[in-house]
């Protein structure tokens, strides 16, 4: 453990952590934390606290805050800590402030100066710490204070610093694009950094920039493609490999970028086909990271200009995802399917049963994803089934956020594809009843408008729509507790069309409306809608020449509203009263029947009042002065303007007063000089160079411009191994690879064919239930069996050849391995050595893995033996193994609180003098020695593995 593990904190702090661990309830935990806050408040304000103590207090504050309590009383101390000269203390200070403060906190202004100083420090660790803080704390206002310093750091000799500077600049761009708009070329430059980490970090800002403005980055297509190609060909240092994949995180970022650049651009896309296809073939679909890259490939293929071959690869990958047992992969498969059906809708059909399985899966996440897919593939033929499914799901969830979303989706689909009015109205009713007030009011207004305007076919169907709406609403009103939005719709529709078809009498409708107003007396909006609806009904009655007698309940309601506290309600009630008193002719002109869709002309100048004004002025009234000419207002607006000016003039200045910034300026040429080392041209020339590469519309890949190749070479030399040959040989090797590519595809296909086959046969055995088939038919509109059969027949032929190939591969890899064992060499060289043979024998990724599998155990044994000899205790690992086994077995089910076994008196000797740091440091990863040491240490701390929660001791990666 040594430098890593040690529990350096004081006993007090350890006690705190332990007692929190032992707390049996949230309340108890809160009590302990509140006590701790009191202690800290007292301690932290004492004078002359030694630095180490202070450091610990700050970490305790972080702990308190992490547990959800307010530690703001100590923020200022954390800020002070960043001013310290010792990096140790400073680092703690920076950690604390980045955890405590959001970018809009007042204290940030006190840190800016320190950050400025630290960014120019000659210790790169100080600079790194400051850059971490910059990313979190600097806001729009303070960007100018650090921007020049950060830009300067882009050319820092340490790659860690350059990387962080890039990330900081990206953050600045996110916060205030205008502040760094003149510096964007720096990102392009850093793309050619000779450290892959910096290059990888640069992809983040570039991705964002390209998302915003694709066209200004089209020139980089070839650069991205070549980088991706190099990554896929394992030209990056081994340290970037992750689970045998070459720099997968960088690959994913690049694929994302390519997707953006290739979207709708045939020429750019054509440049990408080869490399994307290559990655498809190279991806190891048995590991999670391989699938992550595959998924990104599918996303890329579905957005760039489509290519049949790649689409085929993508479809293959999707079917592998969907047929997998892992829920994660199914989820990704469904998502990918949703992307691909936009381009090739027919692909959904072959996966219909898989999709339905996912739809009926108990896993909520998967179900939602599937509903999303269904939403994307809705047509007028399957809308009923899909919307029904969605509503069923909606009824059963509590998650308001998602309910809102799915409700609006239902509405959207219903509006777009509704097969009949009846169905449409009923669907909308269901959505409103179940999603209630979560439905956006816009949706409600849309519905009203739709009912009013109809689907625009002919008047007959429109009035049918209205009548069926009225009918269903009158029915629904019987239910108790309807959501407010829905009631508003109901009232409005009843008011407009309640009596339109003559089926219901005015008194019946008004009675219903009064019921609504009474039943929901606490909802003013609903009441207002009801009153207006009443007004309309009466107005139509009067206009039709019928005699109106108001129901007694309605009259009492009106009396109540006339005296209402709500002026809106009052006004509406008075309006109703006034309308009733008018004659038929007047009513018809104020409330024409079915005229809600007609535009109302508004006379903005109020010209009809001119005469009245003229009269008043002649009678001595003051003429109207427009608002902005009035003297009082003038002052205020002026004041505001001034204020605004002042703030802009008085914005914070961070530069020092006395010293002119000559030093900084003199350094700028220096930085550009330094950068020439990486990009051999100063900026303007650099841009031109890139431009040239695009002007040459390279049709074939190897006819690419010479400049491009030169640049590739530069990058290659930086990353590749020394032995790698320059440009000409790479082009030849790639062509070779693509030749091999065909056979490779076969290989990967066959490896799947087995699983495919078993899957299919299992499917057939399982016997698809008729309901499922029916559902499939209604969703996808095709029969499944006829589709399936040829597919299985097609695939059966392969396995035999596959096995042969497999055995061949294994043999060859064994040969290689034996060769290797004979000449004991370090692994990377071995792999280098192995490459050509593998290429010639059987082009597949597998040999690598098997090879490494063969190699690894031996090296591990070696290291284990080494440790055994150095660490005296050779027998102990076994004991340790037994020890961890047994308690886990016994206590596994015991769920009682952690650390309750910690009640032993705490440790005196915290550092545990017995353990030796060197051994621990030299050993990489897991080994028994390590856990043994940790066990010993932890026992000293008073925590024993026999405590009720052995899980705390379980290796996370075990």
């Amino acid at each position: 453990m040594g430098s890593q593990g040690g529990f350096y904190q004081s006993k007090e702090f350890l006690d705190l952590v332990k007692s929190i661990g032992e707390a049996r309830s949230k309340a108890e935990e809160d009590r302990i934390v509140l006590g701790e806050i009191e202690t800290l408040k007292r301690r932290i304000s004492e004078p002359d606290i030694p630095k180490r103590k202070m450091k610990e207090y700050i970490i305790r504050l972080v702990y308190v805050e992490m547990l959800g309590h307010d530690a703001s009383f100590g923020y200022i101390h954390a800020v002070k800590m960043t001013h310290d000269n010792s990096l140790l203390v400073k680092r703690t200070g920076y950690l604390a402030v980045t955890l405590f403060l959001n970018e809009d906190h007042d204290l940030i202004i006190l840190i800016v100066n320190t950050i400025q100083k630290d960014l120019t420090s000659d210790n790169y660790l100080v600079v790194c710490a400051a850059l971490n803080a910059v990313c979190k704390l600097i806001n729009e206002e303070t960007i100018p204070a650090v921007l020049p310093l950060v830009v300067e750091l882009l050319a820092h000799p340490k790659e860690a610093v350059r990387k962080k500077a890039i990330m900081a600049l990206h953050r600045f761009y996110q916060k205030s694009p205008s502040s760094v708009s003149h510096l964007l070329s720096n990102f392009r430059k850093r793309l050619c950094d000779n450290d892959p980490g910096v290059m990888g970090a640069t992809l983040c800002p570039l991705f964002e920039l390209i998302t915003i403005d694709v066209n200004s980055y089209k020139d980089l297509v070839m650069s991205f493609v070549s980088i991706l190609k190099q990554v896929a060909e394992r030209r990056l240092p081994k340290a970037y490999d992750y689970h045998q994949m070459p720099a997968p995180f960088i690959q994913i970022k690049l694929l994302k970028i390519l997707a953006l650049l290739g979207s709708g651009d045939k020429q750019a896309s054509e440049n990408m086909y080869a490399v994307v296809g290559d990655i498809f073939k190279k991806c190891d679909s048995s590991s999670n990271i391989g699938n992550a890259v595959l998924y990104e490939c599918i996303c890329c293929v579905s957005t760039i200009y489509s290519n049949p071959k790649l689409l085929e690869f993508a479809a293959d990958a999707i079917s592998r995802f969907l047929k997998s047992d892992s829920h994660n992969l199914k989820y990704m498969g469904i998502d990918a399917l949703g992307r691909l059906i936009k381009i090739s809708p027919e692909i959904a059909e072959q996966h219909q049963l898989a999709v339905i399985d996912c739809l009926e899966d108990p896993d909520d996440t998967l179900k939602r994803k599937t509903l999303e897919l269904l939403y994307k593939m809705t047509k007028s033929t399957n809308v009923e089934v899909i919307v029904d499914r969605m509503i069923d799901y909606m009824i059963n969830i509590n998650d308001n956020h998602y309910k809102t979303e799915i409700a609006s989706r239902c509405v959207e689909l219903a509006e777009q594809f509704a097969p009949s009015n009846q169905w449409f109205i009923q669907t909308m009713n269901k959505v409103f009843m179940h999603a209630g007030d979560l439905v956006n009011t816009k949706v409600a207004h849309n519905l009203m408008r739709l009912i009013a305007e109809g689907f625009g076919e002919d008047d007959d169907t429109d009035s049918q729509l209205r009548s069926s709406a009225v009918e269903s609403y009158l029915h629904i009103l019987g239910e108790s507790k309807l959501p407010s939005v829905f009631l508003q719709v109901i009232c409005w529709v009843l008011g407009e069309y309640g009596t339109a078809d003559g089926k219901y009498s005015a008194s019946y409708i008004t009675g219903k409306l009064c019921d609504v107003a009474e039943a929901y007396s606490s909802d003013e909006t609903v009441k207002a809608y009801a009153v207006t609806a009443l007004t309309k009904i009466y107005a139509f009655e009067i206009a039709a020449g019928r005699k109106v007698d108001m129901l007694p309940e309605c009259q009492s309601l009106m009396e109540e509203f006339l005296a209402s506290h709500s002026t809106d309600l009052q006004q509406r009630a008075y309006e109703l009263q006034a309308v009733i008193g008018l004659d038929a002719h007047a009513v018809e002109s104020i409330m024409p029947s079915d005229a809600n869709c007609e535009d109302i002309e508004v006379d903005k100048n109020l010209s009809f009042l001119t005469g009245y004004i003229q009269d008043s002025i002649e009678n001595g009234a003051q003429p109207y002065i427009p608002e902005n000419e009035r003297s009082g207002m003038l002052k205020i607006s002026n004041f505001r303007n001034q204020d605004h000016h002042e703030t802009s003039a008085h914005s914070l200045r961070f530069e020092a007063y006395e010293l002119p910034k000559q030093t900084v300026q003199s350094r700028i040429p220096l930085t550009s000089l330094a950068s020439t080392e990486i990009v051999p041209v100063p900026e303007p020339i650099y841009v031109r160079e890139i431009y040239q590469t695009t002007t040459v519309p390279s049709a074939s890949s190897d006819a690419g411009s010479t400049e491009l190749k030169l640049r590739l070479d530069g990058v290659q030399k930086k990353w590749g191994r020394q032995t790698h040959s320059p440009a000409t040989s790479t082009s030849s090797s790639t062509s070779q690879k693509t030749d091999n590519g065909i056979t490779q595809v076969d290989g990967s296909n066959t490896s799947n064919s087995r699983t495919l086959e078993t899957y299919d046969s299992r499917k057939q055995q399982v016997e698809i239930t008729p309901e499922k088939q029916k559902l499939a038919a209604s969703l996808f509109g095709g029969s499944s069996k006829s589709e399936k059969k040829p597919a299985t027949g097609h695939k059966i032929s392969k396995p035999s050849s596959h096995i042969v190939e497999r055995s061949h591969v294994r043999k060859s890899s064994l040969e290689i391995a034996s060769e290797k064992k004979a000449s004991i060499q370090p692994p990377p060289d071995l792999l280098d050595f192995g490459e050509p043979t593998v290429n010639s024998a059987a082009p597949s990724v597998d040999p690598f893995k098997e090879l490494e599998g063969l190699l690894e155990p031996t090296t591990q044994v070696d290291s284990a033996e080494n440790h055994g000899s150095t660490a005296a205790a050779t027998k102990s690992p076994d004991i340790m193994g037994l020890y961890t086994e047994t308690p886990a077995g016994i206590y596994n089910k015991d769920d009682s609180d952690i650390l309750s076994g910690l009640s032993n008196p705490p440790v005196r000797n915290m550092l545990g003098g017995t353990r030796s740091m060197q051994v621990a440091q030299s050993s990489k990863g897991r080994n028994l020695k390590n856990s043994l040491e940790k066990d010993a240490l932890v026992r000293q701390m008073g925590v024993t593995p026999s405590s009720p929660n052995p899980n705390l001791f379980k290796d996370l990666l075990g």
């Binding site: 430098s3 890593q4 593990g5 529990f7 350096y8 350890l14 952590v17 972080v62 992490m66 959800g68 307010d70 140790l88 680092r91 955890l99 959001n102 809009d104 660790l125 990313c135 979190k136 860690a160 990387k163 990330m167 980490g197 990888g200 983040c204 340290a239 970037y240 720099a247 997968p248 995180f249 960088i250 999670n288 990271i289 992550a292 998924y295 990104e296 829920h327 994660n328 199914k330 989820y331 108990p362 896993d363 996440t365 939602r368 998602y402 769920d895 952690i898 050993s923 897991r926 080994n927 040491e933 940790k934 925590v943 929660n949 899980n951 705390l952 001791f953 379980k954 996370l956 075990g958």
Partner: protein, 161 residues
């Protein structure tokens, strides 16, 4: 973009929180409670992803500890799952078979490591070696400082004997 990282134990106790997007203390507590409820109650064979307020939360359980990251709708879930694993592998290498107890008592170290891995909500470094090297460089400073401190205190102790 990653909006926040959460480490919660199976009992719902918070082991680490890191917020890359602004959340008030109140919101943070709410988020932890809400997500804890959702994630801890999920069965073992289900997806490692959860829809949450229009974002996606990717989580993975290691022993009794849940690592959660909240991401945007259009991010790659599998990739984030691997970022989590990447983080755990680095922790494992650093602590030497990391267990929950290591993180309980050394949460600040876990923060330092996380700061080398993620920055401003993006993956800044995908090489385990580079991260390990940087952390080691920082730690060596700590060691020298400690030695100095202890030697000074030794001197003082001897002088005052």
């Amino acid at each position: 973009m990653i909006h926040f990282v959460l480490l919660i134990s199976r009992q719902g106790k918070v082991r680490l929180t890191k917020w890359y997007s602004p959340y008030s203390q109140k919101e943070r507590t709410k988020v932890i409670r809400e997500l804890g409820g959702v994630i801890l109650s999920r069965g073992p064979k289900l997806c490692n992803f959860v829809d949450w307020r229009g974002f996606k939360v990717v989580y993975k359980r290691y022993a009794s500890l849940y690592f959660c990251m909240c991401i945007d709708q259009d991010d790659n879930e599998l990739e984030v799952l691997e970022i989590i694993h990447h983080f755990v592998e680095i922790l494992d290498r650093y602590f030497g078979s990391v267990c929950e107890l290591d993180l309980i008592f050394n949460f600040h170290k876990a923060y330092y490591i996380l700061d080398e891995l993620l920055l401003a909500g993006e993956l800044q470094e995908s090489s385990k070696k580079t991260v390990a090297r940087l952390i080691a460089a920082q730690d060596s400073l700590v060691e020298t400082a400690k030695e100095q401190a202890s030697s000074i205190s030794n001197i003082i102790a001897q002088a005052t004997k």
